[in-house]
Symmetry: D2
Subunit: 297 residues, 4 copies
């Protein structure tokens, strides 16, 4: 993170000669001072590797530019950059570090991820707005409200799921949320809600995916006798625990650890992995490519 205001351009396009030259030439042509650049060429694969083969490679980039080095603001940047982006067939966006992202947290009863995220928000490590917290239980209301953050209790039962998720979506829209974070929210979102915000809903799953999808992953891990347990931060898609993976980590266990110990160890990696994944997302470091991600750490 830089202390001066900056813009972040993130983009991808079909690979070809001269992309970097054209884009960096555009920026330099206006006197733009580049703070950080990350580039990645995903090669065309002729070898038929499962799930990734494409006829043409794809180029990904993320560039941070000092705001005060450019002679215009974002609206004009967008207008001037568009012809080049169109020519390169880019998907792109540019964001402003001075505009805080609005992150809505969804929680259930477990508090470890919530405490962790609010500590990071309180200390400004996460420089975001949290317009509200939504929960299917009421138990964490006091803690959230003490921080001056509105709390919405939206119960989810077997017979009101559609209505409940419609209410979640209504609140998210009302507070103009950018990102939704399932911080150990123990409910499966409706397909409609997943589809409404592709690449904008993050979940923390308490296993090293693709192992142990679904419910009670620590019980599954215990029964299998694995020697490491993990956690996975991923984008939510309609298919349960199958969305693009943003970040993962593991911790060593052994035969003496019961399921309850694994749950306890797991919490420590859950909160760390979620916080790292969320940071990458908020800083526009994550570019989705099919069912995978490019993460410019």
């Amino acid at each position: 993170m830089h202390r001066t205001r900056f813009y972040t351009l993130s983009a991808s396009c079909p690979d070809r000669v001269g992309i970097v030259a054209r884009v960096s030439g555009f920026i330099a042509g206006h006197g733009g001072w580049i703070l950080e650049t990350a580039l990645h060429a995903e090669p065309a694969r002729a070898d038929g590797a499962a799930g990734g083969g494409e006829a043409v490679g794809r180029y990904f980039m993320r560039i941070e530019i000092r705001a005060d080095s450019l002679p215009f603001h974002l609206a004009e940047f967008r207008e001037r950059f568009r012809p080049l982006a169109d020519e390169l067939e880019m998907e792109w966006k540019i964001t402003d570090s001075a505009v805080k992202k609005r992150v809505v947290l969804l929680v259930s009863k477990q508090e470890h991820c919530l405490y962790d995220l609010l500590a990071r928000w309180q200390s400004k490590e996460l420089d975001i707005e949290i317009p509200c917290v939504i929960s299917n239980h009421d138990s964490l209301r006091g803690f959230v409200e003490w921080h001056g953050i509105p709390f919405h209790h939206v119960p989810v039962g077997a017979d009101n799921k559609a209505a409940a998720y419609a209410e979640v979506q209504r609140i998210f829209e009302e507070v103009r949320g950018d990102t939704m974070v399932l911080a150990r929210y123990m409910q499966v979102l409706s397909p409609a809600l997943c589809a409404a915000y592709p690449g904008r809903i993050l979940n923390i799953h308490h296993s090293f995916l693709p192992s142990f999808v679904g419910a009670k992953p620590y019980h599954q891990a215990w029964a299998k006798g694995v020697k490491l347990i993990g956690a996975t931060c991923h984008y939510v898609t309609a298919e349960l625990d199958q969305g693009p993976i943003i970040e993962q980590d593991v911790i060593r266990i052994d035969h003496s650890d019961a399921v309850e110990d694994m749950v306890r160890y797991g919490k420590d990696i859950e909160k760390t992995v979620l916080a790292r994944g969320l940071r990458y997302h908020l800083e526009d470091r994550v570019l989705v490519h099919g069912n995978k991600t490019i993460v410019f750490r």
Copy 2:
């Protein structure tokens, strides 16, 4: 590892009051000096966790005793200990650090695990006999023979599998092998061979099991977009890549790593994980419990 000769007693039995007192009392009663003790009670589980529930807990132990502190040798130890072991319904064995284990290596064309194991054997880090190496290719013969170790080329084709594995078994028996190590042996052993040596054949699988069973796990990992790749050392059973896990580890990768990079990173954890798992096995630190292991590191 201790420099003085010692015996290693490893055992398990139904849990009850007084096991440690009885066993350590027996040892102390003969003046036995204990160098290292590891104990584990696997509780009876009433909560129906998959794969582990039992009505009575089970107790596991591993005790190292200085050989020169006892007034008799192993044969007499076994005779005197048997009544107690029977009373406690123990499965048990006792081994002598002065008797080197005889380890047969099976390899294919890849050399990284072979070089690694022979370096450890050469430096006496692995204090074992390697009576021979068996391979389905002839390419590593020179390297093995330079070390003074016999090399057997046993080709495995689509139409001679039964005969080939019978030959592997014949050689293993002939050299009086204790343990068989599949050091990136790229063939699936026959069920008969697996069944002949339960808990005596170790494999290194190039993924973090249970993810990515079977062929080309790095390709599978690449296609899934995981952020860590792993390796697993496990006992071989008739069911492919499903035997009890002894040791695992992982390494971080990112979007810039192609399958070939993952293969390269993977080799480093494969050889480390195999060497660790093999050491635990050779030092009688691994006790199998159903489809899981107790590993007294």
Copy 3:
């Protein structure tokens, strides 16, 4: 952790034949059901390794016994066990899982360790009493008091150190504290306070000791160009950052990480390492041996 009430016996004594037999025999003789046992023999070292050589080895043990399996309570256990302990020249203690430890937290302005510990206390992962929090600043009062925990502001200036630490000690005594935790408390305790509670004050230092003792360790690490940064939980002694190490961990950084990034990464390991070290301490898993620790994880 077990759900049933249990006693934890932790002890050390000069090594000799029969220690385990005598102690486990005593327990079994009263019908005691052992839940967990950990043993360690620290050998006498004749090779003159710095800092550890002793003429006779020392034996360490930690045993958990189900409270309801014994026919008497702790007072009587202590009385009956004493003759054996005396004979073996033991240093020992036995604690009761039903008696919560009383942990006093000392903090300054940084909140990450405080949030983390209170989350663990709130969820009963840490099953302790927190009779109060003491700080040299007043900024975290509201957060602490919201949890129903008394907060004491004890300013520490250049000219009132002796008085300030006397006040800290007075409060600690008044609330009958068992353990004092410096949860990123940015002051150096007085030698008198350190000496008053040997093995009872835990600190989290933000480097991988023995590297980067003292102030601004992340700046030191940045200047040195290390590729991993760490954190260390240790007992506080009069010599700054030199007390027995309980737990350590590290995280990977690279050239793109500025000091501020290292501070951010570091917080994640600080809180995890402190929480792990504190748990080991509270569960009587840490036995001090000279300037080192035995940690029965």
Copy 4:
């Protein structure tokens, strides 16, 4: 690694607007296809952090270009690029993936790093020439020569150091070595030899520097009671174990590990860390900046 031939341009220069645009514009102007780009701006630091403060920032870059996409070879590239490089006040070089680096290994009696590096060379994971191995002992001659690599025994005694290192330098020059690797070479090179090849001699030190400089670092680590041990790959300078750090890693130990166990664990990280550091160096991923390194992994 790419399978097609490519050139690697690595460079650094004072930071200013337009560096990337100028350099990538030059490459694109000749039709150059960029395979991989890594960039880093080391900011000017006004805050007086020890060891790094500079009045102007410095820009680092590493660019891989497909050889067959350019209309000329390296000699002409160098000639055409020089004016731009001069204008930007660059330190720079460009290398050709088709020209194998010539790496001379120095070893003593321990074989683990030697076996590891030769396995990587044998499998072409390290695509280098090893024109010879030099040792102060004769014991590894047979193993090296079996691989078809010349072996030079250059004894180093208390009274012939100057002559011995002169001989090492003579051999290195004679075989036209690019890089010298101290693969657990248990001698301290002469200042003259260190000064002759700045940034071209790599050492693996068996501790997590800056902790435990000099002899017997595992004994030092044991005496201190650290909970992790490490290894460090660094460039050799005249000051012992103080050269720029390229790569580090650690492994967890505990109280039950004696010095000999730490030595054994340590070997595994020594060889992995050395192999990683060497790979980064050989692929021109390491740019030295004062006493630190930029490593474009």
